[in-house]
Amino acid sequence: MTYKILISDKLGQAGLDRLAAMEDVSYDMLTGLSKVELIEKLPAYDALIIRSGTRPDAEIIAAGERLKVIGRAGIGVDNVDIEAATRHGVMVMNTPHANSVATAEQTMALMLAVARHTVPAHNSLAAGEWARSQFVGMELDGKTLGVLGFGYIGRLVARRAQAFGMRVVAYDPYVAEETAVDLNVSLLPLANVLAQSDFITLHAVVTPETTNLINADTLAQMKNGAIIINVARGKLIDEQALAAALQRGKVAAAALDVYQKEPPEGSPLLDLPNVLHTPHLGASTREAQDRVGSEIVEQVVDALRGTAFRNVINQSTIPA
């Protein structure tokens, strides 16, 4: 039999090439469909592959008479009604690790850029100034990096930072001591990580506990002149409190790729000179996009064939 897959958001070429090479699969990539059009088309398909643009709600999912899998090329699944999917026995899966290397690389890119004032130095030179004495930087070598959230990405960052001669400490109440020891990282209570770190980088998921993890109270526990990097989620930082700490010099500088609200219109952090901003580019490399595409394609087809069920969020839907 042939499995039919509908791709309703733009998917990278690497994933499409993989699908084209499979004999038991056919696909259609139809982007920009209205909800009505999607409901009309979906009954013919066994699987739906989306990114963040398509929002499969209960009505759409109910229309998918043959639908067995919704594959999200990427991490966030807030655009999918998971409860409805579970009710209809539809598996929802994502690609949690495909972006990790890109995110770790962006973390290091921002850390090095902040340490050396690379972007303002570039802007000043491009504007015709030669003002090198304004850009005395700091080295990473010998400094302490605090990783808040020591999951897959946090570990990739730790390994890279260690190559720069950094000492790495981490806070993560859900990680076993041995995991950290194997990586030559000290797992410490949050207060100790905050007090010891010259650089702090966030790699936690957003939960009620981690929302506004960086707030007036935790900022006060940091070393004077600490530097904060956030390539994870905007909601981890109380932006008002961080802006105040940056203005006082308590925090020397920050590099932010994510914001409470995106785009970050009206954020108090936008006008500060000691903040480096990028518009949510953590996962944005060609390699990561290719990988997201090929991983979701492999996962969806494996699930349709019943050979493997990877990264399924609503596990109760996995056929026995």
């Binding site: 850029a113 050396r116 130095a121 015709g128 080295e139 518009p279 390699e287």
Partner: protein
Amino acid sequence: MPLTHDKHLPRILICDPIHAEAIAKLQEHLDVDVQTDLTREELVALLPRYDGLVARRHTVITADLLQHAFRLKIIGVAVPTLDSVDVTAARARDITVVNAPDANTLAVAELTLGLLLAMARRLPWAESSLRQGQWEPRRLTGTGLSGKTLGIVGFGRIGRQVALRAQAFGMKVLVNQPELTPELALEASVEQVDLYALLAAADFVTLHLPLVPETHNLIGAAQLARMMPSAYLINTAQGGLVDEAALLAALDAERLAGAALDVFADADGPTAALVGHPRVIATPGIGAFTEDAAREAAETVAEQVIDFFAITQIDPILPLRIVPAERVFPHELYDQKRVNRLAGRMEREGVLKNPPIVMETDAGYMVLDGATRSTAMQQLGLPHMLVQVFSADTEGLQLKTWYHIIRQMDKAALLRLLGGLPDVRLVESDAATVKEDLFEYGGLCYLQFVDGSVFMVKPLPEVNHLDALNRLTSAYIDVAHTDRTLNDDVVVLQHEYPDMSALVVFPVYTVERVIQVALSGRRLPAGITRFIVPGRILRVNLELEVLRAERPLREKNRWLHERLMAKQTQGEIRYYAEPIYLLDE
């Protein structure tokens, strides 16, 4: 400037701003003035008062200026290069020049990776887009590093540090470095290729070489044409390495994806077309510009200046010196049992009777005589050591070679023992020519038996001569009774040693060769070299407590100086010009 000065302390002038921690360190040990706004005339006027000068690159130290430096003994420049100092003129005046060649290594390596990542992730453009109120992540998609190839042109100190960091990102590293040995490439997990192969294969190319006539415009139109259109060029080394016009043309024609530059051909500032190019990241020469690098450079130089005076400020009445124990190293093997015995005796007696004789080299103090004593002192954990110091050109210093007399061993057994060693072979030779042959064919030594037969000991090919010689000598020292002699006449020796089996004759070593061996970290066999030193100082009987005390080296040396002065005044130092025989050794 303070009105009074400690007249015992050497005076140091710091004439450029250096890191505060280094100033504090210098002040702990020396009499320091900081005058960083001097005009040239003021500096000329002040310089005659100082024993040491500490500067950065700002003060240019010319031959002219040094004419006024009557007392100056050392110049410390807290930068990696020496281009602000007329080193030849300084040396001619016997002024030592020190600097901090490694201080900027990490700063430059980190900036290189920083620029590489900034380029890959388009940071300046991401930032300006967002600051202009736009939100267009799709247009700013970057490039990953993992699995990509980095080409490093010039694999010195900085290139190596760049390689280590790039490897942590999962990059493959190719290098181009003319004198790189395969072993070194293997050790660094890099692949050595020629320049064109590197340019053709690398996703990122970074330059880490000095600017010399041969490297000027090393990367020109022809080289850029070899690079992939998707590749990036990074230069944090020297401006003149890249032909900027050719680079601009390649960028405009989209034959290169981008460039990140911290250095420019024109030292006064780069051309606007280049730094304003939409695919160029340009920074104004900030490669070495970190506070850490400045501190490191200043501290390195401060330490060297402090050590210099700690050791040499006192005009010694005898060539005795207290030096850091870790700076003392032997040139020959020693017997660990004898070291243990001597260490035990010294511990019980609490004194060092006779100081080891050392020669001062760039790498520290090489022991000429007293390997057992110096090793015993190191074993006792003494931080400092008393030594008698010679230099290679001390008049009357001679190196002779001991020969070994092997006694009470049957000829056949000895031939079996030595012939059975894995890395040598014994060749029967002619007594009349063996000396010349030894020199000519590079034998390790020869054996002369009492029956007149002679065997040359030759190392097998690809065997390290020193290792083979060490194995050979320990083989017979372990089993036979061995004595040392300077005489190579077997007939005469036989009268002295009736139970003698054979004489082992070694090639003559030169002082230079011994230094070479020791500096390479290898050791000669024990008891081959015999240094004849004029004016050997004996029976110093220095309390080990003095060496052990936690006091600065400078204070200990001053104390030593005072003690010797007192002894001299009281007539307690006696000098014998005659060579002597001792009957109780």
